[in-house]
Symmetry: C2
Subunit: 389 residues, 2 copies
């Protein structure tokens, strides 16, 4: 029997609004057909969050209301169930394109463009995301097309969320909070880092307020001796009395990702740890105080850096970046010198991580939303250095 | 204080052996310096498993014993701790390359190649993995270099594991088994899919036999009404009496990934489900019986397809692919017509998934190793259709 539509995360009008914004950018760039290949953009434009490592492409045609999603035949039912699109807009390619050194799913996308009479116009490709081999396939098989780089155009559109998206990000943030509190409950001397992770990822799946997590974003648990570096997942070590734990996790709802960082100390924190907590917290609060629609992004970063420096810590890394589907959004960087202006419903991970020595660092962060008059802090976990025993 | 080396997953000689194999391929292709950008290849050649979405590159020079890992400054301590390399072989690039539309970490890699006098020779790039924008940066800033596509060369080297790697894959497989058994214990009518996932990913983190999981590979839990499609993660639904669950998970140890699939029925399975289980199990067993060093891969696939067809089910998808670091290895495809020959210590995910209708499918699979005389099945969970209540 054919599969039926599942519950939709957003109403059809929301997807059509997003597609209209994309089509406006297509028109400005003389793009007749856009081939979307980045997973987060596919989620944004269709609602699809099912994963596959097989090649696939979403074709947005200037002349069609709905896009066409071309993917491996076995993934068609999931795509139809999850997305708002009509049955004939989800097209499976055959198994023969698998494990084939010369052909893959992009050949099916190109066949579709040829059959739809789109091969002689402007074709948008996400060249910052598409591999060289894939791009050469498009260029080779579409010799009459004008190839236009559409990289990060959709990322920029995604930067400003709708109120519907913000509601989902609040749900994701509540899950992140639950993970932070669960870590505070369970971490204890003698416990393996992996057992703490088990509790944390379990919480991220169970979710909060009756809304489960829909994905496990990679958790980063950097404990002594790895607190001077941010991107270790976890190790085979055991927590000890005196261990410090820098934790960065995220809640996820339907792709929307709300990260948060907190630092934990098993037993009495060192003076140095207390001082950096105070400095980074001051930086975070200075940043939150300076956020509002119309503020210059670089000025927010400046306020953060000056506040931490007043308390004796020079933060080397940028204090944040835009967030949304699949964690970071490349086109919003919270850093000094950035002259872009904040808009309402932009969302950021305001990140006061500092890795000051190879064996010492500290993290605290929030997921935030820009409002007309200030800021909404989406994550609500206590803004403290957690002291455990 | 400087961070010190952590416990190494493999001895230094193992990494030097792998590097020697890569350098042999470089010599054959007249490559003086290879820029490795694929995460799985970096793990293979160095032991690094820390993750970051920032650009980074591992430069293998024909003239140097050790490669040089160039990455964001904050990731240097993790890379030094995890890898076998000397201190000066882990090089951080500055924060200024972050959030910069015209420059990124690849500029630091190119600077390194220029300073090392490697800019006029053959430069290998993984063009099937590298974005067009990145490749253009390399070509633009290294106009005197001969760019040579090294895509999937390392993947092919990875296909045949050492005994040390096989030992780690056995550990990963035991974790996968534990996840399958945990699912059988906890899944029950009225439970949310997310709560089952919480138990499963918790088990994948805790690991087996005292060896924790080191990563959570994405679990795929496709339950009624989504059993006709394979790549949904999980949904917000609740299991019911009569629900079927197709589960695909993997255990991970230090990057090495051992997947497994099993199907569960809450309550008495339908006749159709029992029949497909019998057919796919027969296919799996026929496949296992035909695996041995020297066998032609296509013949193994043929045996699988014929066995399922004899019992009335035509499997549309290829029955497997090579596995190792980060799940799949693109260069080994278990499919009919593949004339490649099995070698000892190749590892596969032998996958008897069949999605026969949009609303009906079934999965059973094993992680396996090719031996001189036959096969070692790495995953050991009972090869059954789990009937739960």
């Amino acid at each position: 029997m054919p599969i039926s539509k599942g519950p939709q995360v957003f109403p059809r009008t929301e997807y059509l609004r997003r597609l209209a914004a994309v089509k406006e950018e297509m028109a400005q760039r003389d793009v007749d057909a856009l081939v979307v290949t980045e997973q987060a953009h596919v989620t944004y434009l269709t609602g699809s969050t099912a994963r596959s490592y097989d090649t696939r492409g979403l074709v947005v045609s200037a002349r069609q209301e709905q896009p066409t999603f071309i993917l491996r035949w076995m993934d068609v039912p999931a795509a139809f169930q999850e997305t708002f699109m009509d049955r004939d807009k989800v097209v499976g390619y055959p198994e023969e394109l698998m494990g084939n050194p010369s052909k893959n799913g992009y050949d099916a996308v190109i066949d579709f463009l040829l059959e739809a009479g789109l091969a002689n116009g402007g074709i948008g490709l996400e060249l910052g995301n598409l591999s060289v081999d894939a791009a050469e396939k498009f260029k080779g098989r579409l010799p009459e097309a004008r190839i236009i780089n559409f990289f990060d155009v959709i990322t920029s559109i995604r930067n400003v969320k709708s109120d519907l998206e913000i509601a989902v990000m609040r749900e994701a943030a509540a899950i992140a909070d639950a993970g932070i509190l669960r870590a505070a409950e369970v971490i204890s001397p003698g416990m393996r880092e992996a057992d703490a992770i088990a509790e944390i990822v379990g919480t991220l799946a169970r979710g909060a307020n009756g809304k489960p997590g829909t994905w496990i974003a990679t958790p980063f648990l950097c404990a002594s001796s790895r607190i001077g570096t941010p991107h270790v997942t976890w190790s085979e070590d055991v927590f000890r009395q005196g261990s410090q734990i820098n934790l960065e996790i995220a809640g996820v709802r339907h792709g929307y990702t709300a990260p948060i960082c907190r630092t934990y100390s098993i037993g009495k924190p060192s003076d140095c740890l207390l001082r950096i907590h105070e400095a980074q917290l001051a930086g975070l609060e200075a940043g939150l105080d300076s956020v509002r629609a119309g503020a210059v992004i670089g000025d927010v970063a400046h306020a953060i850096h000056r506040a931490t420096e007043r308390l004796g810590f020079k933060k080397r890394s940028r204090p944040g970046y835009g967030i949304g589907i699949d964690w970071g959004e490349r086109t919003l960087s919270l850093q000094e010198g950035n002259l872009s202006v904040l808009k309402p419903n932009m969302t950021f991970h305001m990140h006061l991580g500092s890795w000051v020595e190879e064996d010492f660092g500290y993290v605290i962060s929030e997921s935030i939303r820009v409002t007309e008059s200030g800021v909404e802090v989406l994550t609500k976990a206590p803004r403290e250095l957690f002291v455990l025993r």
